[in-house]
Symmetry: C2
Subunit: 156 residues, 2 copies
DNA sequence: TATTAATACATGTATATACACTTAAATTAT
DNA sequence: ATAATTTAAGTGTATATACATGTATTAATA
């Protein structure tokens, strides 16, 4: 899907917002969808979904350590992700391998394969390039944006 | 699911970001998930999903006009929503009614029922109250946030 | 120690996302 | 006027989301 670069009002064809906070909420939801869609375009070339990519990145962060499902889950951006099934699909593609945990028989542990490492490296390079192209804020604006998002969620 | 009020670093258990732009992207994705999850908690009491609520709001904006599927689709926050099927579920719940378009036989047009209007009014009141409680930015910060999000997407 | 509670993961269901494809109708081009 | 193209909506499939439930294992406690 081709995404026009348009302001929120044009994107959702409305300029009737209750107030600026309401508009900001919709703007966050729309911008997140916009970001995910742009990224999906790149990931698709590697046969990956956004969530599969997120799992691969988490495994990379711990590599070569084996990571159990709950440690992946709690690092996911979207906490309600069904990690066992995302891993299922990555196993089929041979990008990760799964084993029983030696310390806790309830756990299954997952690690990247060599193929997984390679696919992750290549896709990350393309994702970084995409980000440089589409994300039009400079460092000081990004810092400001991070501050305001934390403020919105009440953490600051 | 109970969502702790935590900074991004705690939420995804990482503080290794490529740069502030990268962190801002993840922060937007996480904040959007956080907002949707909070809202879903309220909407669930009305048997609505986030997307069904979005369709009802769009219909309200045009009420009592009948709206065709493509005019709903292009107003959705998430453009890839499958509007015919979302309408299917709203029809079953008798919150909207569907009819053939009198001007174009390809189109089907949808309007809110009295039940739909009532459910929308009640749920919107609760959503507005939730927003007042959880969104911790003031008007000037919201304006700044809207500016930065537009800037990120390159519209300003 | 025996019992109970909590945890980790898998599985099941309804809905949504993302996208391809089909069908019918309207538009346009020849 | 007929044919070709475009458009609108519906349908189909794979994956994800959100959440509930089941099952095995570990931890807690009586």
């Amino acid at each position: 899907m081709y995404i026009c670069i348009v302001k929120l009002e044009q994107a959702i064809k409305s300029n009737k917002f209750k107030n600026d906070m309401h508009k900001a909420s919709l703007n966050i939801l729309y911008t997140a969808w916009w970001l995910k869609t742009q990224m999906s375009g790149v990931l698709k070339e590697f046969g990956l979904t956004h969530e599969q990519y997120n799992v691969l990145r988490i495994l990379k962060g711990k590599y070569p350590e084996q990571v159990c499902v709950k440690d992946i889950s709690c690092r996911m951006i979207e906490k309600s992700s069904n990690v066992p099934r995302i891993i299922d699909r990555l196993v089929v593609k041979k990008l990760v391998k799964r084993a029983d945990s030696p310390v806790d028989k309830r756990e299954t542990v997952t690690t990247l394969t060599q193929a997984g490492l390679a696919v992750l490296a290549a896709s990350t390079e393309n994702i970084n390039q995409l980000m440089n192209e589409i994300v039009k804020v400079d460092a000081s604006e990004a810092i400001q944006l991070n501050f305001l998002l934390e403020r919105l969620r009440g953490t600051i």
